[in-house]
């Protein structure tokens, strides 16, 4: 009977961007069967270790777990002991062991609760559809204590709670006061009768009866809180609910972009797998090197005991990126830098430069802090003045004067910008010179070819000099460009 709540939880995880495969869900169930469900933290660990394999996703998992497997404590009329224990068990006076609600979940729920207190019966959020009662039933199940979890008990309880005549089918709760419309007394009696018929241990029954009596009086209240919690689960991805710190990071990825980016990187990684696995030192593979084999095995009478294999040492290409970070191309620049740095392992050296009018190298910055922080700093104008008008000619000149060494015959040079140099001299000869020095020069621009002659764009001058000019406006296009870039960089590999 554990499978329904768990599959629902898995679905919830998926909705929040944590990928879970069916095999992992089965593992989770198997794990729960082995470790038992009587201890909340054990359940958490079992689910986490079987379902969540990304370190970054653990925090999100914990949050969702707390929300999903918790019920806010009953309101003020609760007995003192349950308030002190921060108890969130549905049926508080049972067996004494209350399941603590983690602080985080509580804090998150607090504003929502206040919201509903003000507008008690109004839907909490627009997309909120109603309470899923079967979930409620399953919830009871998960919170049972071990001593109550004897044979036959849980399934029967569960089934009866769902199929009682008093409960609306389909689990949809009407908008009125929940407590009034459900024939609770009848439901409980039927449940108890069913249980008696099953010849469950008498003491257990009494315990259950006592629990129900305690829980029933507060059931409407509990249901309401349950609904609030449920709504909180649904609206968890509401941008307004995100921590305030996120507002500052205007240039960070949102989750969707991140996933898309990850996907591009994975795809590229897969494609390049063969290319990555070259050996620098050990010549364990390759063709037999005849002369060295004979020389090495002379002491064995020329019998080739130890064949010497050798293969050509392969050079990894280098990558130099020059990014315009003026306002017009900022988004693309950000994606580009991210992509390049995620692919860093494919290249022997990645150097990156940013410019508006001044040009500066940020490779060292990125190494020191992180890429995201560096990008934030670049965009906030800390490293170069981002307020100026972009000047491509000047930026190219600085690059040529100071950083010429970053362009060698092994280098692929990527320039990202719209080529709008505000009528400054374009210095196209530098680009020609760079083309001569580099393996290839690729220009990425967010503007389509049609708009190049409008206004002061130098793109028509620059474009014929480059090996390739690509129009990149979104992540998909960028992914394709990166793919062809990587492919051509490794073309002479096989």
């Amino acid at each position: 009977m554990m499978d329904v709540p768990i599959t629902r939880f898995v679905a919830l995880l998926k909705r929040h961007g944590i990928a879970v495969s069916p095999a992992e869900a089965i593992d989770a169930l198997q794990g729960l069967a082995l470790a038992g469900i009587d201890d909340r933290e054990t359940v958490r660990v079992v689910l986490r270790s079987t379902l969540v394999k990304q370190c970054q996703a653990i925090a999100e998992f914990d949050r969702l777990f707390d929300l999903y497997f918790s019920l806010p404590a009953p309101a003020e009329d609760g007995s003192p002991e349950e308030r002190s224990g921060a108890g969130s068990t549905l049926l508080p006076d049972a067996g004494g062991a209350t399941v603590p609600t983690p602080e985080g979940a509580r804090a998150e729920l607090a504003p929502v609760e206040m919201e509903t207190d003000r507008t008690t019966r109004a839907p909490v959020t627009p997309e909120y559809k109603g309470v899923d009662l079967s979930l409620f039933g399953q919830h009871l199940l998960l919170q049972q204590r071990k001593d109550a979890g004897q044979n036959g008990y849980k399934p029967t309880f569960h089934v009866n709670a769902r199929h009682n005549p008093g409960m609306p089918a389909g689990g949809e709760l009407s908008t009125g006061d929940p407590g009034e419309e459900i024939d609770l007394g009848g439901a409980v009696e039927a449940l108890l009768a069913d249980l008696r018929a099953l010849e469950v241990d008498e003491a257990l029954l009494e315990q259950l009866e006592a629990r129900l009596a305690g829980g029933l009086t507060r059931l409407p209240e509990l249901l309401r809180r349950y609904r609030v919690r449920d709504a909180a689960l649904h609206r968890a991805r509401d941008p307004a609910a995100a921590p305030p710190r996120a507002t500052r990071r205007t240039y960070r990825f949102n989750d969707h972009e991140r996933r898309q980016m990850d996907e591009i990187i994975r795809r590229l990684g897969r494609q390049m797998r063969g290319a990555l696995s070259y050996r620098k030192t050990a010549n364990r593979r390759g063709r037999i090197n005849v002369s060295r084999t004979i020389r090495g095995n002379l002491k064995y009478d020329g019998v080739p005991f130890f064949p010497v294999l050798s293969n050509q040492r392969e050079e990894r290409p280098r990558l130099t990126v020059i990014c315009d970070v003026s306002l017009s191309v900022r988004t693309t620049a950000r994606f580009m830098l991210h992509l390049v740095y995620s692919l860093q392992s494919l290249f022997s050296r990645v150097r990156s430069f940013v410019f508006v009018s001044d040009l500066a190298e940020i490779s060292a910055e990125i190494e020191r802090s992180s890429l995201e922080e560096t990008i934030d700093r670049v965009f906030s104008g800390e490293i170069i003045n981002t307020e100026e008008n972009s000047n491509y000619g000047r930026a190219l000149e600085i690059f040529y004067e100071r950083y010429r060494s970053a362009a060698t015959s092994r280098t692929t040079l990527i320039i990202l910008g719209d080529g709008r140099g505000n009528r400054n001299p374009p210095n196209a000869w530098i680009l020609e010179e760079l083309r001569r020095r580099c393996k290839q020069v690729i220009w990425l621009t967010p503007e389509s070819r049609g708009s190049w002659h409008i206004g002061a764009s130098d793109m028509p001058t620059y474009a014929p000099i480059c090996h390739k000019v690509e129009v990149v406006r979104n992540l998909d296009q960028l992914g394709r460009v990166a793919e062809s870039l990587v492919r051509s960089s490794f073309a002479n590999r096989r």
Binding site: D27, A35, R48, T50, K53, A59, G269, P304
Partner: protein, 337 residues
């Protein structure tokens, strides 16, 4: 064999490994479900040690495979012993010659030889590398695949068959199935993303830095000579240093080294001079050392600017993020060297 989770905790504790229930639960599940455990976390928090301890606690042999760039199946699974094969043919040359003397023509000789070729492709001529050793072992073992992210991605593909079915296929011989599935512990430093296929087959365990009490407990256990008051000072200073933005934050192993050193130096309590002299023990980069010694007065005074987030009150995601950044910086600098 472990029967309950609590038993795992006690048995590991008997082997001088302090662990929480979370960790014990995963180990327990791994044994019961016959699944490999993927352990991730920053360097020096006891990932490898965990595998070793579990092996001791279970009284099993530990087979260790250290991954490195360029590791291939010949080093991890098996390899044909070319030299030995040649030697045998050389020695058996006359015997072989006499066998073939009776053959009428070449065709018959080849046919005859084919019947006997399995002589030279038998397990006798096979060098068993760690993974095959673990699979073929007559008694259950613990297989530790250390720092898997150092190996290339296609190495993970070799592992898939082993991890899900506990078997190794050798084309010339056939499939070798484990008589007792080994307990497989895979450790990773999170320097690159592991493939989903691998992750799916494993239970995932993220070990972070321990909380204050647990770290104290570990010091008490491993360096019992260190006096209690000093241990507390050490732990709180280490935790403050960890909260700083360093290239490589000190880990438990560094804490223990330092504690050991303080015992040897007969230290009474942490003074500024003493810390400065021994800072090299816990920090691995010059720039980190400079940064910390500049901050030392504040760090030692306690209450290091309440505005700064300390490692404790960061949430797990931030902790992860921080050490990932540190590791990334570390590895990119290594690549240059």
């Amino acid at each position: 064999m472990f029967e309950t989770i609590d038993q795992v905790v006690t048995l590991l504790r008997q082997q001088r490994y302090i662990c929480d229930r979370k960790l014990a639960t995963v180990i327990f599940l791994a044994l019961k479900m016959n699944k490999p455990v993927l352990i991730e976390g920053p360097a020096g928090v006891g990932k490898t040690e965990l595998a070793k301890t579990v092996a001791r606690a279970l009284n099993r042999r530990l087979i260790r495979l250290q991954c490195y760039e360029g590791l291939d199946e010949a080093r991890a699974l098996y390899e044909w012993e070319y030299g030995k094969q040649l030697l045998y043919t050389q020695i058996l040359r006359e015997k072989i010659g006499s066998l073939f003397a009776e053959m009428e023509d070449l065709r018959a000789a080849v046919e005859y030889l084919r019947q006997h070729e399995d002589v030279f492709f038998s397990e006798h001529f096979m060098v068993r590398r760690p993974i095959l050793q673990a699979i073929a072992s007559p008694e259950p073992v613990v297989l530790l695949i250390d720092e898997i992210d150092r190996a290339e991605e296609q190495f993970e593909a070799f592992l898939l068959e082993v991890l899900s079915d506990f078997q190794v296929t050798v084309p010339e011989i056939g499939t070798i199935v484990a008589r007792h599935p080994p307990l497989v512990c895979i450790t990773g430093n999170n320097t690159r993303e592991l493939s989903d296929a691998l992750k799916r087959r494993c239970l995932h365990l993220a070990i972070g830095y321990p909380d204050e009490e647990r770290e104290l407990e570990i010091i008490r256990l491993k360096v019992p000579e260190l006096r209690e008051s000093l241990a507390r000072q050490v732990v709180s200073l280490i935790r403050r240093i960890r909260a700083m933005d360093l290239r490589k934050a000190p880990s438990i192993s560094e804490t223990l080294d330092w504690a050991q050193a303080l015992v040897l130096l007969n230290a009474e309590q942490l003074s500024r001079e003493l810390v400065e002299e021994t800072l090299q023990l816990i920090l691995k980069y010059d720039r980190d050392v400079q940064q910390v010694s500049a901050q030392l007065p504040v760090l030692l005074d306690g209450a290091p600017g309440a505005a700064r987030p300390t490692f404790d009150n960061m949430d797990l995601r931030e902790q992860q993020e921080r050490y990932r950044i540190n590791e990334r910086a570390y590895f990119s600098s290594r690549r240059e060297e």
